[in-house]
Amino acid sequence: MASEGDRRADLEVAGRRSRLLGELRTGAGRNVAIAVASTTVVVVALGLAITHAPGWPEVRKTFFDGHVFTTSFPAIAHAFLLNVRIFLIAEAVILVVALALAVLRSLPGPVFFPLRALAALYADLARGVPTILVIALLGFGAPALGISWVPSSVVFWATVGLVLVYSGYVAEVYRAGIESVHPSQEAAARSLGLSRWQALRFVVLPQAIRRVVPPLLNDFIGLQKDTALVGTLGAIEAFNQSSIDTNATFNYTPYLAAAVLFVAITIPQARFTDWLVARGRRRREAGRLA
């Protein structure tokens, strides 16, 4: 039945694909050449401007000291493992907590108004209070309660603080994703006899989460940088270790070493996020044409 239509649809898709690739190939060489040339000009100009500044010799000594860099780097890199541990644990918890918050906020009907209002209030508070204050309040306040079964580690409470703050952001990201799935999808699922929860789980959330992976990764990059705030409570993570080294040597190069470590993990993620966005756009366009 209708194999003629089927065949034509297949052919159209194949034809479109080859046209797209063709466009990309022609002119790609010239564009790359222009990009390389303009980048070189900008980098050389910037480099000359900085190295010819009157204070450059002094800055080079206090910020770009190769010897200080190599001697301080191992300890900072070791301390950085604490940052990695904090953000890995925080991210795993945030993914779950934020999803629960977003689902609460998407519940329909007047019965769930209190839950929706609470979730909204939470999102407002979490995003409204500066992260450093949340961490300070929890890190100093919670252990001071002296309750025996409550952990007294500042790292634990700082991580809780990061989870609280970033769950507010990530919940909003999830919510935007849930709302971007057209109501007809839920209607189709419900019409087949799926419960509201099943429709959410099998139809709405998988589509929502796929769409929000890029903004979610952006929030995680922010979280990874903010693990440096844990150092303000005295925990020896990368930023605090570099502060100690800086104070000991009267040289700021250890800060640079810490910055290099953060950049080394965040830039690949930023590139990956951009790649995901571009892939999503390509797929959507292919889908629309089909």
């Binding site: 239509g5 189709a188 799926l194």
Partner: protein
Amino acid sequence: MADAVRLEDVRKSFGANVVLRGIDLAVAEHDVVCLIGASGSGKSTLLRCVNLLERVDAGRIYLGGEEITRRGVDVNAVRRRIGIVFQAFNLFPHMSVLRNVTLAPRRTLGLPRAEAESRALELLERFGLADKRDEYPDRLSGGQQQRVAIVRALAMRPELMLLDEVTSALDPELVAEVLEVIRELAAGGMTMLIATHEMGFARDIATRVCFLDEGVILEQGPPERIFTAPREPRTRRFLQRIVEAGRL
């Protein structure tokens, strides 16, 4: 013969907009009833009420003798017995054709995966879609997508199918393949309630045609009579416009 579905004085408004003003309709088992009428006459709302996607304001709906508009009815259980196909297909874009079709039988009927898949493949085979089982909806033509949507509804083995303008979003050359599927269902004895703009098709397939106008069934009868000798002036005017538009 027993009624598969019966509506008694069904009313539905959206705010100040009164869409259904008292619908009485009975569809016997194996009957194919076509709802015709202008856009906004209430055809889609009527189908959505039967599927409980919309809650009726007043009136009763019976499915196989059981009232489904009563308080406390298990809406999910009711919907498992009724298949509905939408104008815009509404396939799940993140699932392959096979998963689209097996989702509800597995999750709501509790069929084991193997059984749900063999049931799905049998249907896909029957409607010429077996080679598309692993494709995603955005790789299919509109006609293929709508046929998959019909198969998805059929996989629940419904006792009643509701078709809501299922060819209206299709390019003209793809309409025939979908109508062919519906014809085959009718020949197989499926009870159907069909909202449609395809008058020629309605005339062919319907055991009864109902003309909806401003939220009431103004006139109903066998297709031959409705299309050749309509009694109501409004029905006559509607069909006249259709003929002028070259669609009958």
